[in-house]
C-alpha cells in the first residue's frame, strides 16, 4: 500500500528510499502482496465475522467514502469545510425519498444522492469564491445550519424531527452480507477514483490551488472553477455516504447531520492524514471505532451513566485529536505509518 500523496510538502523520505538500488521492484512485489491480502480479507470477512463486526465494517467503509470526499476538499484543495454532514444529509434524503416514493434501484439512488449533494454543494460554495480562506468555512457552517433547518422544517417532505423510515434493500438476495459487498465495492471504486484524480490535470490543479492560488492562476488554472469543483466533489462523495447510510440504518432524521458529525469527519481527515487516500481510510476507521472502544472502556470502568458521559467525551476526544495531530503530526496516521516503514527499512 504505497500511498505517497502528490504533495509539495513531502519530506525527504522519498529520495532516501529511492536511492536504494534493489528497493523499487521489491517494493512493488510487497505492494501487490499487500493489496491481495487486503482483497482476500475483505472478501472472506463475512464468512467468519459476527453480525456486530460486519455492521462495524460496513459502517467504517461507508464513512471512508465521506472522509475521502472531505479529504479532496480540505486535504488536497486546502478549502476548509465544516458542513460536511449536511451534504451527507442531502444525499441521504435524496436517495431515501427516491426509494420510498419511486422504488428506483439502489445504484440509481446512490448516483442521485451524489448528484444532489454535488448541486447543493455548488449552491453553497458559490458565494464564498470571491474571497478566501476562512470565508468558505463560514459558508459551510451556514450550509450546515440552513440544511439542518430545511431537514427539520420541511415536514411534508422530510418528515420533520421524526425523519423518514427507509425500507431495507436486499442486495443479490444476500441480506446484510450482500449490502456489505456492495458498500465495499463502491468504497474501493471511489477510493481508487480519488487516488487517480490526483494524477490528472484536475487533481493537480487542486493541489496547485492549495499551495499558492495566485501562482496557480498565473499557470492558467481557472481558480474559481476549480475551487468550486473541489468543494462540490467533496460534497458528492458525502452524498454517496448519505445514500448508503440511509439504506444501511433504515432511518433518516435531522439529528444524524449535525455539527458534531461534521467535526467527526474533519477529525477523521486530520487524524488519518491530509492529502492521502490511505489517510482517509485509516482516519475513518479510527474515528468510527473510537467511540465503540470508548463505550467498552467506560463500561469496563463501571461508570453508571455511560450514555450521558459518552457524548461529551466524544466531543472532547474529537477536538483533542484534531488539535494534537495538527500540532504534532500534521500528516496524520498515514504520515506516522510512512515514517515507521521508512524507519524500519533503514534499520534493517
Amino acid at each position: 500500500m504505497d500511498e505517497r500523496a502528490p504533495t509539495l510538502r513531502v519530506p525527504a523520505a522519498a529520495p532516501a528510499s529511492a536511492g536504494r538500488a534493489a528497493s523499487p521492484p521489491r517494493r512493488a512485489v510487497w505492494q501487490t502482496v499487500g493489496w491481495l491480502i487486503l482483497a482476500v480479507a475483505l472478501l472472506t470477512f463475512p464468512a467468519y465475522a459476527s453480525g456486530y463486526l460486519l455492521f462495524m465494517a460496513t459502517l467504517v467503509a461507508i464513512n471512508v467514502i465521506a472522509t475521502t470526499g472531505l479529504n479532496i476538499t480540505v486535504g488536497y484543495a486546502g478549502l476548509l469545510s465544516i458542513g460536511h454532514s449536511a451534504f451527507i444529509g442531502v444525499g441521504a434524503y435524496a436517495s431515501a425519498l427516491l426509494w420510498i416514493h419511486y422504488g428506483t434501484p439502489l445504484l440509481f439512488n446512490i448516483a442521485a444522492g451524489a448528484v444532489a449533494a454535488f448541486l447543493v454543494g455548488l449552491v453553497f460554495g458559490a458565494p464564498s469564491l470571491r474571497i478566501k480562506d476562512a470565508y468558505l468555512a463560514i459558508a459551510t457552517l451556514a450550509a450546515q445550519y440552513s440544511l439542518y433547518f430545511v431537514f427539520q422544517q420541511w415536514t411534508s417532505v422530510t418528515g420533520g424531527e421524526r425523519g423518514l423510515t427507509v425500507p431495507g434493500v436486499d442486495v443479490l438476495g444476500m441480506g446484510d452480507i450482500g449490502f456489505y459487498y456492495l458498500v465495499i465495492v463502491v468504497t474501493v471504486l471511489l477510493c481508487i477514483a480519488s487516488r487517480n484524480l490526483f494524477r490528472t490535470r484536475v487533481g493537480r490543479a487542486f493541489i496547485a490551488l492549495r499551495e499558492r492560488d495566485y501562482a496557480a492562476e498565473v499557470l492558467g488554472i481557472n481558480v474559481v472553477l476549480y475551487k468550486l469543483l473541489a468543494f462540490a466533489l467533496g460534497a458528492a462523495y458525502a452524498g454517496v455516504t448519505g445514500a448508503l447510510m440511509a439504506v444501511f440504518l433504515r432511518i433518516v432524521n435531522p439529528d444524524q447531520f449535525t455539527l458534531l458529525h461534521s467535526v467527526f469527519f474533519l477529525a477523521a481527515v486530520v487524524v488519518g492524514g491530509q492529502a492521502s487516500t490511505l489517510g482517509s481510510i485509516l482516519g475513518a476507521a479510527f474515528m468510527t471505532m473510537m467511540p465503540e472502544v470508548l463505550r467498552d472502556l467506560l463500561e469496563l470502568v463501571g461508570s453508571k451513566d455511560v450514555a450521558g458521559i459518552l457524548s461529551p467525551m466524544r466531543e472532547i476526544i474529537f477536538g483533542a485529536l484534531i488539535v494534537t495531530f495538527l500540532m504534532f503530526e500534521p500528516r496524520g496516521l498515514a504520515g506516522l505509518f510512512d515514517r515507521l516503514r521508512v524507519g524500519g527499512r533503514r534499520s534493517s
Binding site: D133, A142, S146, L326
Partner: protein, 290 residues
Amino acid sequence: MHQILEFSIIGLASGSVYVLAALGFVIIFKSSSVFNFALGEMMMIAAYLCFATTVQMQLGWQAGVLVAVVGSVLIALAVERTMLQPLLGKPVIVLVMVTLGVGSIMRGLAGLVWGPDIVQLPDFLPRAPVFIGDVLIPGRLAWGSLVVGLIAGAFMAYYHFSRAGLAIRATSSDQVTAESMGINIRQIFSLTWAITGVLVAASGIILGALNGITPTLGLVALNVLAVVMLSGLTSVGGVVVAGLFIGWVETMVGAYLGAAWQNFVPYLVVLLVMTVKPTGLFGERRIERI
C-alpha cells in the same frame, strides 16, 4: 405600530450582547488573522464559571463575575500560548481547525462537568421592567444592554486612545512594520486574546443571565459570526451597527414568522453578504502580496 416599536427596542437590546463578542472576534482576526471558531464556547465556559461560583459555591455574584472574567482570560491566554503560537506561520486553515477543535473540547468539558440540562444564573440584573414613554422593555434586557454599552465604550476608548490600543492597531495594519518599530507582536497576539477573554466573559454572563446556560450556548457565536460578516471582518466600529441590526432583524423575524425562522436568519444574512458584498458593509479590502 406600538408593538413594532417595542419589538424593535427589544431587538436592539438583544443585539447589543452580540456586539461585545463580535468585538472580541474582530480584534483577534485583525491582529493575527486567526478565525476564532471557539469564541462561542469561550462565552459558554465563562458563563458556567460564573454559575459555578455564584450558585454551586454560594458566593456572591460579584465573585462570580470576577472568577468568570479571570478564568476566561486565563483560558484564552492558555489556548493562544500553547496551541496557536507554536503554529504561527502555518496556513490559516490549520489555525482555524485548531480553534474548532478547542471549541469542541470546551463543549464536551462543559457537558461532562455541568450536564446537558439548562441552568439559571441568579437574578443580579433588576427584573422590574423599564418604560421609555409607554414602551415596555424587560428589566434584565435593559440593564444588560446598558452594561454592554459601558463595556463596549470602555473597550473603544482603550482601543483608540491607549498605547496598547495603538500597538494593536499598528500590528493589524502591518505586522512587519509594527515589529520593526519595536512592537513585540507575539505579546500583542496574547494581549488581543486576553481582551477577547474579558469581552467574551461579559457577553457570556449577560447572555446566560438572559436565556439560561447550556453546553450549546456557544452556538450563539454563529449569530456573532453573522454580525462580523455583515460589518466586515476588520471593522471595529461597524460591528456595533451590525450587531444592533442583526439583533433587530432576529427579533422581528422571531416575532412575526416564528422561532424556527429566528435561528435561520443569521445564516441567511451571512450567505447574502457573501454573495453581494463580501467585504461587508464597513470592511477594508486587504491587499495581498504575492
